[in-house]
């Protein structure tokens, strides 16, 4: 049953991504000032939303682990954080490329970019911590605590364009009271957000299966030593 869901979701994600790429390259017009490069937004914005919200969602599962000590919650939190890091990397890289066009520089130390970099560093720290600690209980507890710091920072990244006057654009999408995009362009943005959410769910499912396998290996090793 789980395999069927996985393969069904994979097929749906692939089809939706193909549909979105067709819309982005073949249907939607160019932007007046940025030309073709504005299309970077169709991956930059959804990946930023997923990267930030993913680390926020991981907080819920980290707290659930701290309350229940059930490793299933730790697995989900680890999976979501790792996949969120993929999206964080994507939005930092694509944002830097867009910044080179729009601002003439690859990077600016403004609050949005700096807090996003700090988020990426916290996420990297989380992943390194998990690799460094072998004992599952200690690893899960410390990871959960670090996840809380990450989620606080993800909220700062999210709100930074409202709290500060940043070089980064103010909210563009209408769901954040932006209204800076044509309706057809904005709809494609949401469709690509959906496609990336589906991709993210698939990646988290793969990661969770690997976490379970990893714990099985550790448990069997302990059993083998005890023999």
């Amino acid at each position: 049953m789980r395999d069927k869901i996985f393969y069904g979701l994979s097929a749906a994600t692939a089809l939706l991504l193909i549909r979105n790429l067709y819309m982005i390259f073949m249907v939607l017009p160019d932007e007046l000032n940025q030309g073709a490069a504005y299309r970077i937004f169709y991956f930059h914005v959804p990946s930023a939303m997923l990267g930030m919200s993913g680390i926020g969602i991981a907080l819920i599962f980290s707290v659930l682990y701290l309350i229940t000590k059930d490793f299933r919650w730790d697995s989900i939190a680890a999976g979501i954080t790792e996949v969120s890091m993929v999206f964080c990397t994507m939005f930092l890289v694509t944002g830097s490329l867009w910044g080179r066009i729009a601002w003439g520089v690859w990077w600016a130390w403004d609050p949005r970019l700096t807090s996003a970099l700090v988020l990426w560093l916290i996420g990297s720290g989380y992943l390194m911590l998990r690799r460094a600690i072998d004992e599952p209980t200690t690893r899960a507890r410390l990871s959960a605590v670090l996840s809380i710091f990450g989620s606080v920072n993800s909220y700062i990244v999210w709100k930074s364009i409202e709290w500060y006057r940043t070089q980064h654009p103010q909210p563009v999408l209408s769901i954040r009271n932006g209204g800076g995009m044509a309706p057809g362009m904005e709809a494609t943005m949401y469709w690509n957000l959906l496609a990336l959410v589906m991709l993210g769910v698939l990646l988290v499912m793969i990661h969770m299966r690997q976490e379970t396998m990893s714990r099985d290996v550790e448990a069997l090793r302990r059993y083998a030593h005890a023999l």
């Binding site: 390259f25 160019d30 940025q34 030309g35 073709a36 490069a37 299309r39 970077i40 991956f43 930059h44 990946s47 993929v86 990397t89 994507m90 890289v93 694509t94 490329l97 867009w98 080179r100 066009i101 991709l199 990646l203 793969i206 990661h207 299966r209 690997q210 396998m213 990893s214 099985d216 290996v217 069997l220 090793r221 059993y223 083998a224 023999l227």
Partner: protein
């Protein structure tokens, strides 16, 4: 399509897909390693268990 900044659009999409594909490759390699480890430790237990049971 307007050719203005076309190369940057290409770099942006290439970067996004390289990151996703790179992560998928990483997951694939990790899964293969875990499967090998699981088989090794299962084989170790299987070879260890009969001898132990004979001793006891």
């Amino acid at each position: 399509m307007d050719q203005t900044n076309y190369s940057f659009m290409f770099y942006g999409f290439a970067a996004a897909w390289i990151i996703v594909v790179g992560y998928l490759v990483l997951l694939g390699l990790r899964e293969r390693k875990l499967k090998q480890q699981l088989e090794q430790v299962k084989a170790l237990i299987a070879t260890d268990s009969p001898s132990r049971s004979r001793i006891s």
